[in-house]
């Protein structure tokens, strides 16, 4: 049996004085242990909605999700979730953030200390454990978010556009970091992205979802050796094939707009993302080697 089973999911958003909007219908797929799967699709194809349901933050109208044979009914530490804006607790240090899941699950001090060292090792965050998130660059924040989600050894890691808020130059670098981190942790991953290049670079398997009710229009295995080279001919072929599929997925969508979904159902607070990004643009600038903004 596969690690993750998604069966016949249907999800509809209803708003007053508007016809109900079917986001996902008859959606089924499964993920094997150890696989890195990307959900790729144009905005509005329901990929983030699906991930939010995998996380247990939202329930499906009909259909079931099983993780390791257990039905998913609400959030839990068997799934590590990395939010688009990382959602690091700004009032906790890096160490407190990373160890939060162990703290609330009452692991003893020795276990926590041991796990902290392991996680700092794989994320190369030694020396930053007592800093606050606001003092970190975008890339370091990402690593903290990933190892925080990994801390209690979840069955699966769920990534919601983990690089969505990062600007283009930083992206490729952080994709490399993410690939190394996930490889070292040896975990199963489901990642939502709209970036074709990113999905080919990171995944074993890419599922392309259509803007029309989230129909799966392609389930493609990326058969490339790791670490991958973006320059290779095979890589470029995957990218161009998937790019064409995403275009097709977009055309299927009709007149759908993101704004039609009520904010509470979008899974992320977009206003917050915008303000968070403004607040942190200074740090990403620094990380890009640009000069520090004038105080």
């Amino acid at each position: 049996m596969a690690l993750l089973e998604v069966k016949d999911i249907r999800k509809t958003f209803t708003q007053k004085r508007k016809p109900p909007h079917i986001v996902l219908e008859n959606l089924s797929f499964s993920v094997e242990r150890g696989q890195y799967v990307s959900l790729l699709g144009p905005s509005g194809c329901g990929k983030t909605t699906l991930l939010t349901m995998l996380g247990g933050f939202m329930s499906a109208d009909t259909g079931q999700i099983y993780l390791a044979g257990k039905k998913v009914e609400g959030p839990g530490p068997d799934r590590g979730f990395v939010f688009q804006n990382y959602a690091l607790f700004p009032w906790m240090t890096v160490q407190e953030n990373i160890l939060y899941s162990l703290k609330v699950q009452n692991f003893n001090k020795r276990e926590r200390e041991k796990r902290l060292q392991e996680l700092l090792d794989i994320s190369h965050l030694h020396g930053s454990e007592n800093k606050y998130p606001i003092q970190l660059s975008g890339g370091m924040q990402q690593r903290v978010a990933v190892v925080r989600a990994l801390a209690s050894r979840p069955e699966i890691l769920l990534l919601d556009e983990p690089l969505g808020a990062i600007d283009f130059q930083m992206r490729e670098l952080l994709q490399e970091e993410l690939a190394a981190l996930v490889e070292e942790a040896q975990t199963t991953v489901v990642m939502v992205t709209h970036d074709v290049n990113e999905s080919v670079y990171l995944s074993d398997r890419v599922i392309v979802m259509s803007a029309n009710k989230g129909r799966i229009i392609k389930d493609m295995y990326i058969d490339l050796p790791r670490p991958r080279s973006r320059q290779s001919q095979a890589f470029k072929e995957y990218v161009s094939e998937l790019t064409e599929l995403v275009r097709q997925a977009f055309r299927e969508g009709g007149s759908y707009r993101q704004a039609d979904i009520p904010a509470r159902d979008r899974g992320v607070d977009n206003n917050f993302v915008a303000s968070y990004n403004r607040m942190h643009s200074r740090y990403t600038n620094v990380a890009n080697g640009r000069s520090r903004a004038v105080k």
Binding site: G74, P77, F83, N85, F89, Y100, I134, Q135
Partner: protein
């Protein structure tokens, strides 16, 4: 550094620079200039009016101000008033913060309590004076009550705003890591709302300090406000001015203490030169 393309002449800091030591005290220096100008205007006006009952000379007021700090009667009454303010603030804190946390966190609590709270806080604070005297008699009782009454709303409202402003993904993140409801309150709700709670404390303290003096005009025969009424009755205008300046400065000092406390309590907001609201 080598430059490419168009060059912008580097004029450096265009402001007049008088050295680092001066830059550090720039703000204080400007404040001092404003004070000196005010003093000159004051003396010119006093010269023009020639009536110390309406407007005593600056020097006279300044003398009163300086002697006031050594006057045991004034200091005793100032201490009394401060004690009342802190007692009233404490009551307001004990009621306002939990109330705000509850109303910010629970939609049910918000819906049931908000109309009541929003109408009670429209009642002018001085309108509570007659009732508070009936309830508590004269003395400490009504003043403490009035301070608590004027401080509780800024505290509750800011706490509500603080809780409501917490990103829902913080809750989601915590729950996905296995946090219980108690963990959420302790680790997300309280620290997430803390910046607003502390702002609420500042506003509440300010409101309390302002209302205590009014309350003491009426409801008691001791305290800083009572001294002001006394000065007025004895036609000691210079002393009245001095007491007013004192009340302003004491309020300012309390606020400064709260700002320092705020920075200490939420130091995570002020790391690496980042300055919050």
């Amino acid at each position: 550094m080598e430059r490419h393309g168009s060059t912008i002449p580097d004029v450096g800091n265009a402001r007049l620079s008088l050295g680092d030591a001066f830059d550090k005290y720039r703000g204080s220096f400007y404040t001092l200039i404003v004070l000196v100008i005010l003093m000159i205007i004051w003396n010119l006006a006093a010269n023009k009016i020639q009536n110390t009952l309406l407007l005593p000379y600056f020097s006279e007021t300044a003398m009163e101000f300086i002697t006031a700090w050594g006057d045991p009667v004034i200091m005793f009454n100032l201490g009394l008033t401060l004690k009342r303010v802190f007692t009233g603030f404490l009551y307001a804190f004990i009621i306002g913060v939990p109330l705000g946390l509850l109303m910010g966190y629970s939609a049910t609590a918000m819906q049931s309590l908000a109309p009541l709270m929003n109408s009670i806080r429209q009642v002018p604070i001085m309108a509570w004076v007659p009732l508070s005297i009936i309830w508590f008699g004269l003395g400490d009782g009504p003043t403490v009550f009035l301070i608590a009454m004027s401080a509780v709303f800024p505290l509750a409202i800011n706490t509500i705003a603080g809780v409501e402003g917490i990103d829902s993904n913080y809750y989601n993140a915590a729950r996905s890591m296995g946090a219980s409801r108690r963990d959420l309150v302790r680790d997300i709700v309280v620290p997430g709302a803390m910046p607003n709670i502390l702002t609420g404390c500042r506003l509440a303290m300010g409101a309390g300090w302002m209302s205590v003096i009014c309350a003491e005009f009426i409801a008691t025969s001791a305290g800083f406000g009572f001294l002001m009424v006394e000065a007025q009755v004895r036609l000691e205008t210079a002393q009245l001015y001095a007491l007013m300046v004192m009340s302003g400065l004491v309020g300012y000092a309390i606020d400064k203490v709260f700002v320092a406390f705020e920075r200490k309590m939420t130091s995570w907001r002020f790391k690496d030169g980042f300055v919050g609201s």
